[in-house]
């Protein structure tokens, strides 16, 4: 008979990290198991041991502290979506998590899981990158914090060391008057993963010029794409149709789009152009109070 899969259910982060350190690549962390089960069943992974982190206390917090929204790694997508704390502090985060898959998946999938999975076609990562979120991780060498934009490295690859686990995500609450949106564009069923997803963040001065503009594009390339130089060009300028088109074109030019069943590279480039424009437009509309 085949070797049975070993299951660990540590009750502290340190214990979990110790198991990971000892077993190395043979062990896989499991949280909501929505992604892991598929990978396992399709035999894309064959771990000898699972380290289920569900019994570790303290990873389910949702709170705003020091101007930051803190989401514990074990908070489910559904909890983020419905949380009054999230909806009041940074509604776009609740909105993006609410657009993932369907309610059955959202009830199980976790914040830590979506980060660690680093699937190019996930929704929340682009929002975290646009909002300058920080990922807190802990391993044998203690804790460290990684900016979301540096956390996603490649297809299914993150900055995590093999003995590190995600313990939470911190998102700076944008200043009052900031508009932030996430547009998920699907080309097939509404339960599909995105063909492209664009997060846009806009703050305007009273005269209509741009105080802050941030755009991250998800699902179009291996990792969420953000171009700080392009954003910087917009600062201080009036946010008119020309400027928005310039930013959208610049994103379309710079994202090295990929090809999959949801759209060809050509199509994705065109969709980046459309949805960056729309994201900026709707973020600006949401930021409107100043105008």
């Amino acid at each position: 008979m085949p070797e049975p899969l070993r299951l660990f259910q540590p009750t502290s982060i340190e214990e979990a990290v110790a198991v990971l350190a000892e077993l190395g690549d043979d062990a896989k962390v499991v949280a909501g198991a929505t992604a892991l089960t598929l990978l396992y069943r399709q035999r894309l992974i064959a771990p000898g041991a699972l380290v289920s982190i569900g019994r570790i206390p303290g990873l389910k917090t949702i709170e705003v502290v020091d101007g930051e929204l803190r989401l514990g790694a074990l908070v489910s997508h559904r909890e983020v979506e419905l949380s009054p704390v999230v909806r009041e502090s940074i509604p776009v985060v609740a909105d993006a998590f609410g657009k993932v898959a369907n309610v059955r998946v959202r009830n199980a999938a976790t914040v830590g899981g979506v980060m660690a999975e680093s699937d190019y076609a996930s929704d929340p990562p682009a929002v975290f990158v646009a909002l300058d979120a920080v990922v807190d991780v802990q391993g044998s060498n203690g804790k460290r914090s990684i900016p979301a934009s540096a956390f996603f490295v490649a297809f299914y690859e993150t900055a995590l060391e093999h003995d590190e686990i995600v313990i939470g995500v911190r998102v700076p609450v944008p200043p009052a008057g900031t508009g932030a949106v996430y547009h998920k564009f699907v080309t097939r069923s509404s339960e599909d993963r995105p063909c492209v997803g664009v997060a846009g963040v806009v703050r305007l001065h009273a005269d209509g010029t741009v105080a802050d503009l941030r755009v991250a594009v998800g699902a179009a390339a291996e990792t969420p794409q953000r171009f700080w130089d392009t954003e910087a060009l917009a600062i201080g300028k009036p946010l008119d149709a020309d400027l928005i088109a310039q930013v959208a074109d610049a994103y379309a030019d710079q994202v090295d789009t990929l090809d999959d069943m949801r759209g060809s590279a050509w199509y994705r480039t065109e969709m980046v152009r459309v949805w960056v424009r729309r994201a900026i437009e709707s973020a600006a509309a949401a930021a409107a109070p100043a105008r």
Binding site: M1, P2, L38, R41, Q42, N102, F185, T187, R188, S189, S190, E191, D192, M261, G263, S264, Y267, E270, M271, V274
Partner: protein, 780 residues
């Protein structure tokens, strides 16, 4: 609680809920084949070919056999060496072997089977089977197949007992699996009369049935009898096939069928049963095989299709000739493809009166997963071609697509494409209602606001039901006046058992709780051809009614003695026979049965429809009656992205007599879900013979969120009609062309290949960017 109100067939005491087992279903209490647990049961797994086309050089299962927990491993060559079994199956050609013996013909072709004490062990054993393959040139496309550089089946087809009316026309050294011909009128003369001739090529891809329950069965041998509990739509066809494989009389095979978790054609004919039965024989234990979703994807599909259609019309809008060449990609094994091409082929004649029709319809072998029966049975592919082309012609000649259809739809008594007269024609009523419900306006093509544009599309189709075909039923009337129906109809969510109980019970004016019905059990329930082709309510329903009618006559004879009146003066009322209009002079059914000392009254009836087509001309009787449906869609297209939203959908279908209104509506809604998925998302994508999206994360069907916000249904009934028209499939084929036509009317972009993806639409918009005539601008 039922969401649909119960209904009472007129003039009876019966109260019919939407579905008898709805409550059990919702609470998860329905027993499926996969719930069967037998003492000592073991589990099977299949080793499948990783290559699309490869010769089996050697296979060594010794390491797998040595794995603790493995009870048996069988390989293709093991079977080839046994002369007590005939290891081939297939409903028409016996071209599929129980396991690959000479060569694998698609990625997923099973070459070995393991039975082990649990699934993990069986799975682990698969990795220990060493197979050496020699790869052959694969036949991956229609072009590859026709070029015949590589041949999928090198030997002539093995035939066996099959449909009496099947026409087999194969070609040596080719990948043509079968050829159907239709020759009506004179095609040259027809085109000579035409003022305009249009020729277009349409394609639709292979797609999945996606029944919630994947194929599964349990097999065991008991005193020399092969027993199976199987999720099949066709117990008798499977029984015949297994008897042939094991070279035993059909009485040595017994199949029972519990409720199915959906079929849609996927569970017609033998699929998982042969290999499971062999494993059960070799191990002497009950063996279960239950396919994973990934395996389901490569077990059976809808036929991918290419149709070249040439249509001639006169200046005043009459269609005078149509020439179609159809290629149905039947994949690696024929399954029912050789027969389906007939329905798909003559189907291209459409619901139009066309005097001159010429059809060549081919089933073509390729090295892809086998294709077979799929809800719509070839007609979806045909209708995608002819109903798209109707609008293309109308557009090119500047006609209103509604008027152009009205001018050509069949009237009562006019000949259909197989030459027989159309009876009970309702195409025009269905189209008129569809146009009205969708708000058709000849003068407004598209309505634009901002970057969104809306448009509407129509379609009308005709479909045959399998003809000739046979159903039989037995009934027993018990001493308490209750009625038992013994039928082999398969309950698969469509409510067959509810409907048959109603049809049987109403003949004797019984309450529904006085009627019971069996699941199929080939030892006890009489023969039925199968629950497919929208035939059950009509065909089995007729057999049940005939049998109960026989019981009624027996009751009348008994009551005539008892009440001392002539038979002609008797009637049934609420479980009693009474003198017409005189309830005081009556006698209960139970009393009559007891007085007769019969124990129970018995009756059996056989309903067999007649028909068939001439092999050279395709003329004759194509269908016992012709199913009719219309569809209308309103879509909104995002001009920046090409994304389509279906805002409204109307489905109209002619039902003759409606046997159960709630179920008729649910079937029609189900068809819309199927149709919109195929219109917009569904497609099995292959790369070098490898399926790229063989799971439900990558392959998309519609979710409830994708259904139009407004759906209207028109299940048309003709009250004086006793004739029941099957409606399980009819409203599906109109969906795809209705959506395609709506997209065209909105944007001017005509998509010829399903599905209609946003990317194809955007490319079309960029390519022609034709300003639409008659576009209304409205402010957002």
């Amino acid at each position: 609680m039922d969401s649909h109100p119960s209904f009472a067939p007129s003039g009876t005491q019966m109260q019919v809920p939407g579905m008898l087992d709805a409550n059990l279903r919702v609470r998860g209490r329905v027993e499926y084949a996969m719930d069967a647990k037998l003492p000592g049961m073991i589990h099977a797994k299949l080793l499948r070919s990783p290559h699309a086309h490869a010769r089996l050089v050697s296979i060594d299962a010794s390491r797998a056999r040595a794995l603790p927990g493995v009870i048996a491993v069988i390989t293709g060559p093991d079977l080839a060496n046994r002369d007590d079994i005939y290891p081939y199956y297939g409903p028409i050609f016996r071209d599929q072997s129980v396991l690959v013996m000479d060569k694998a013909r698609f990625v997923g072709d099973p070459v070995a089977a393991v039975a082990a004490i649990d699934l993990d062990t069986a799975q682990a054993a698969l990795d220990l089977i060493d197979v050496e393959w020699e790869e052959l040139e694969p036949v991956l496309s229609l072009d590859d197949a026709l070029a015949a550089g590589s041949i999928v089946h090198d030997e002539p087809p093995r035939l066996g007992q099959t449909f009496a009316d099947i026409i087999v026309r194969t070609e040596a050294n080719s990948n043509i699996c079968n050829h159907f011909k239709l020759r009506k009128g004179n095609i040259e003369d027809g085109f000579a009369q035409a003022d305009h001739v249009f020729e277009d090529v349409f394609t639709s891809p292979p797609v999945q049935h996606v029944p919630m329950e994947t194929h599964n069965c349990v097999a065991w041998w008991e005193n020399g009898v092969l027993r199976l509990i199987s999720a099949t739509q066709m117990p008798f066809s499977v029984r015949a096939q297994l008897a042939e494989i094991f070279k035993v009389p059909q009485t040595r095979v017994r199949i029972t069928v519990p409720t199915l978790g959906g079929g849609y054609g996927a569970k017609t004919y033998a699929k998982v049963e042969p290999v499971t039965a062999v494993l059960a024989q070799v191990t002497g234990r009950p063996v279960r095989l239950h396919l994973t979703r990934e395996e389901e994807f490569v077990t059976i599909t809808k036929h991918g299709m290419q149709i070249r259609m040439k249509t001639g019309v006169t200046r005043d809008g009459k269609i005078v000739a149509r020439h179609s060449t159809c290629y149905f990609n039947t994949g690696a094994y024929a399954d029912i493809g050789p027969r389906l091409i007939k329905n798909g082929g003559f189907g291209t004649g459409g619901p139009h009166k066309i005097d001159n029709v010429w059809v060549d319809s081919y089933a073509v072998y390729t090295n892809l997963a086998p294709a077979g029966a799929f809800r719509g049975y070839g007609v979806s592919q045909a209708a995608w071609a002819y109903e798209s082309q109707m609008d293309m012609i109308a557009d090119r000649l500047g006609w209103d697509p509604y008027e152009f259809r009205m001018k050509n739809l069949l009237n009562e008594g006019e000949p259909v494409m197989t030459g027989e007269p159309m009876y009970d024609a309702h195409f025009k009523d269905l189209l008129a209602t569809a146009a009205e419900r969708i708000g058709w306006d000849a003068n407004v093509k598209a309505v634009r606001h901002g970057n969104k544009v809306r448009g509407k599309g129509l379609s009308v189709i005709i479909k045959a039901s399998v003809t000739p075909s046979t159903s039989s039923a037995s009934v027993k009337l018990n001493e308490d006046g209750s009625l038992q129906i013994l039928s082999s109809a398969v309950e698969m969510g469509q409510g067959a058992e509810t409907t048959l109980s109603v049809l049987g019970g109403e003949v004797l004016d019984l309450r529904l709780d006085q009627v019971s019905i069996t699941h199929p059990d080939t030892d006890f329930t009489p023969y039925d051809q199968g629950t497919s082709s929208s035939r059950n309510t009509y065909s089995m329903g007729t057999a049940v009614k005939m049998a109960v009618e026989d019981i009624k006559q027996q009751l009348f004879r008994l009551a005539s003695d008892d009440l001392e009146v002539a038979i002609g003066d008797l009637e049934v009322f609420r479980g009693r026979v009474q003198v017409k209009g005189v309830p005081e002079r009556s006698v209960g059914y139970g009393d009559l049965v007891r007085k007769a000392r019969a124990g129970n009254l018995l009756a059996t009836a056989v309903y067999a429809s007649n028909g068939g087509l001439d092999p050279e001309t395709g003329q004759g009787i194509g269908s016992v009656h012709w199913h009719q449906a219309a569809g209308a869609a309103e879509v909104e297209v995002d001009l920046d992205t090409g994304r389509i939203e279906v805002l409204k959908y109307h489905a109209g279908v002619y039902a003759g007599r409606i046997a159960n209104p709630a179920q008729a509506e649910l079937q029609t809604e189900g068809n819309i879900a199927f149709g919109l998925g195929q219109a917009l998302y569904e497609e099995m994508i292959y790369d070098g013979g490898q399926l790229q999206n063989g799971n439900l994360a990558d392959y998309m069907i519609v979710s409830i969120e994708d259904m139009p916000r407004q759906i209207s249904l028109d299940v048309l009934e003709r009250h004086e009609s006793h004739d029941i028209h099957g409606i399980g499939e009819t409203s599906l084929p109109p969906c795809m062309p209705a959506v395609g036509n709506a997209v065209f009317r909105a944007t001017g972009v005509r998509i010829l290949d399903l599905p209609i993806t946003p990317e194809k639409v955007l490319r079309g918009l960029r390519a022609n960017a034709r300003p639409q005539a008659h576009v209304q601008e409205i402010d957002a």
